[in-house]
């Protein structure tokens, strides 16, 4: 407990978290501080590329073993399964329509890559190793949750608009392609490739993450301000409870597939985090009737900050407690 608290305190006073807080505060105070859309997109491309590449190089270093397949399988199961838990929890805590609840559920089965990136950087500065292939697990967990959510909608007698085009869009969405692509490039080029580009993808990484989290804070703050109406007490409770449930499920799966302490922590983070890029776009196409203010506010305005500040240090500490 002592450990969790001191890790939480250490985590809260890092430049990353404080940058996010600055962004939220600036938005709420209606400062006109903004980061250009092109810069935000480019930083997210940088982060995805860097994290994928590093993961690939790490796997090239340590060799691939069966555990990769197992971990991916575990992640996919989580992504498929968690939307059902989320849907049930929403039905208990809120009065959302089936469509709204299913749309929210899709977000919580899927993952937030920035939460993942922040967690890897926390692990790294705590000196805890993790499996390089966890980025592949992250990529694999993006899409399955959408299937579950659409199935939930169909079961409630409503029609979701799902076609081949949408499948291609989801499976080949920018972040999956970049994450898997750079993972493979890192895997193929290994330490030699790393040597060439480490000054770009390793050294400035945390600094760029700071600016990116500043932007995330600005966007999250804007969303919170705009979405006073949608955030009922029940929805808010869901936004805090669901990541805890997800993390618990991630803990079980992570231990089950035999991940290292760092790997278990990352699996918890993936399960606890909620998508705010890929799934929202898919929901606009497949479930246009669902209210975007609801799922975006929950995912980006409630769960993301919760994971960033309290969640990650707690998950890491718990993984350490279980990992020995």
């Amino acid at each position: 407990m002592q450990d969790i608290l001191s890790l939480a305190a250490a985590n809260l006073l890092t430049p990353m978290i404080l940058c996010f807080a600055l962004g939220v505060a600036a938005s709420l105070a209606r400062s006109e501080l903004t980061i250009p859309e092109a810069a935000a997109k480019t930083m997210s491309i940088y982060l995805l590329f860097a994290i994928g590449f590093k993961g690939g190089v790490a796997v090239n270093d340590h060799g691939l073993d069966a555990s990769l397949g197992l971990a991916i399988l575990g992640g996919v199961v989580l992504s498929f399964g968690l939307p059902f838990v989320a849907f049930a929890l929403l039905k208990v805590l809120t009065r959302l329509s089936a469509i709204d609840a299913a749309a929210v559920a899709a977000h919580y089965g899927s993952i937030s890559i920035v939460t993942f990136v922040t967690a890897t950087s926390v692990l790294q500065s705590s000196g805890i190793a993790s499996e390089g292939y966890m980025v592949a697990v992250a990529a694999a967990m993006e899409a399955p949750a959408i299937v579950s959510a659409l199935w939930l909608v169909a079961r409630s007698g409503q029609a979701a608009k799902m076609d081949a085009d949408l499948w291609r869009e989801i499976l080949l969405n920018g972040s999956i392609v970049l994450l898997v692509g750079s993972f493979v490039i890192g895997l193929v080029t290994g330490a030699k490739g790393m040597e060439r580009i480490d000054a770009f993808i390793v050294a400035p990484f945390q600094g760029i993450l700071c600016l990116f989290l500043l932007d995330m804070g600005l966007v999250a703050g804007r969303g919170l301000k705009a979405a006073k109406g949608v955030l009922t007490a029940g929805a808010l409770a869901f936004g805090i409870l669901m990541p805890i449930i997800g993390a618990a499920a991630g803990l079980v799966v992570g231990l089950g597939v035999g991940l290292s302490t760092g790997g278990v922590a990352l699996m918890m983070v993936l399960a606890a985090s909620a998508s705010y890029i890929a799934v929202p776009a898919a929901m606009r196409v497949a479930l246009p009737e669902a209210n975007p203010a609801l799922y975006l506010t929950l995912s980006l305005g409630v769960t993301f900050p919760f994971n960033l500040t309290l969640g990650i240090p707690a998950y890491v500490a718990i993984a350490q407690a279980f990992g020995g």
Binding site: I35, E37, K41, I277, A281, A282
Partner: protein, 102 residues
Amino acid sequence: MQTHPAKRVEIIIEAPMETRLTAALEKAGVTGFTVLPVLGGSGRSGRWTREGQVGRAGMVAVICLIRPDRLDTLLDAAFTVVERHIGLVSITDTEVLRAERF
């Protein structure tokens, strides 16, 4: 200078629907259109802005100049896409130079 009557159709639609809309237009034989970026806006679902966004949030504006007799084909195609979605379709009378290009 010689001008010819035409219709200017402006469709403001969510960015994730853009490829579907343009595919529908092309399928209906409407091959000419121009896509303009949109910075932000406001509607029944509240205010939004593109600033700092990472995902494909927001809207785009698609502009078609079309011969009046082709208008209905275009509107039918657009409507199938816009129907269940957020989207505004407006049609304005206009004149164009070089009608042979349409």
